[in-house]
Symmetry: C2
Amino acid sequence: MKQSLMILSGGMDSVTMLHDFKWAIGMAVTFTYGANSNPREIQWARYHCRQLGIELVEIDLSFIGRHFNSSLLQGADAIPEGTYSDDNIRSTVVPFRNGIMLSVAAGLAESRGMKRIMIANHAGDHSIYPDCRPEFIQSMAQAIGEGTYVPIEVFAPYTHLTKVEIAERGKKLGIDYSQTYSCYKGGEIHCGKCATCIERRHAIAAAGITDPTVYRD
Amino acid sequence: MKQSLMILSGGMDSVTMLHDFKWAIGMAVTFTYGANSNPREIQWARYHCRQLGIELVEIDLSFIGRHFNSSLLQGADAIPEGTYSDDNIRSTVVPFRNGIMLSVAAGLAESRGMKRIMIANHAGDHSIYPDCRPEFIQSMAQAIGEGTYVPIEVFAPYTHLTKVEIAERGKKLGIDYSQTYSCYKGGEIHCGKCATCIERRHAIAAAGITDPTVYRD
């Protein structure tokens, strides 16, 4: 039985994981929370779930956009340009976003009789986003196991993979990365200058994939 | 500075804590999630925050009512009658509710520069609700500390108190418990037969308070 519920954004990492583990995934959940990229990402989340015949639950966390503080929630102009190693990228942190998404996914999984939740955090995120680090995922897994009636497990198989390694898996799986969306600015065309566009572009190239993405820059 | 953000429902326990720790609480957050009791509880959450001059943030988690499985979300007729020790009370569990509320509170606290979140779980909840137990609160505190940029602390000072002891604190503080709401059925008048009405009634009586609550039964 497919007893895993996966958190899916519609970006490169989670779309790769969805295909990579489709044999284990019985359901996916996607969140809209006021991020610039949400309206475009969700189209791809829906597309890949349709392709694979996986039920997708869409959950509205728009209180994040209204009450939380992050440049990711404030329109394209607020997004800094540069790589993840730059200090200014800290403004893109959405406080405890993965904690919130994992918690909601845990409650949904328990409600629907699933045994496991999956998330596509990876090694490239760690330095800037505290809620992507292995220590956090491990503590959160323990809290979720203790706080659910029939203990729900957390499975984060890309925690120690780099984005390049994820793209290499995607290459083997034959994923067309034009059917994913990454840009923090949320425009129709990827900006090519924000941290996630830079990382995406590098990973796809380093994996030896001819990048199908159109970048503005 | 008042650097604590408290999760407030408008029930006995959280209203008592709000008054008990008003010197430390800079902000409160209340959640509506489709529970029968929400519309009446929130009136008291607003009332007590107004009285104490504490900002109240109201957050809509109505996806819980739509997607989660619990008798608490299914109207008054679905609510079992009896005490917390009965097997049928398990149906009132809202999967991982405290995990979700703590996660959202953590993100909100970080966004608003608060240092600490507070929750009014207590000893009477432990046996039935896994997300009220001390082990859960401790693991969740660790996850929240690791997953936030400037680590947010979790403070749950009633974890080891019984509901009777909470009512005794309320008595000393002069709290009028008719200005709180508990009933799982959500009616205008407390039913007196559901687990939380039974527990409320017993705690108020055992603390030596003349119960101001009107019960149907």
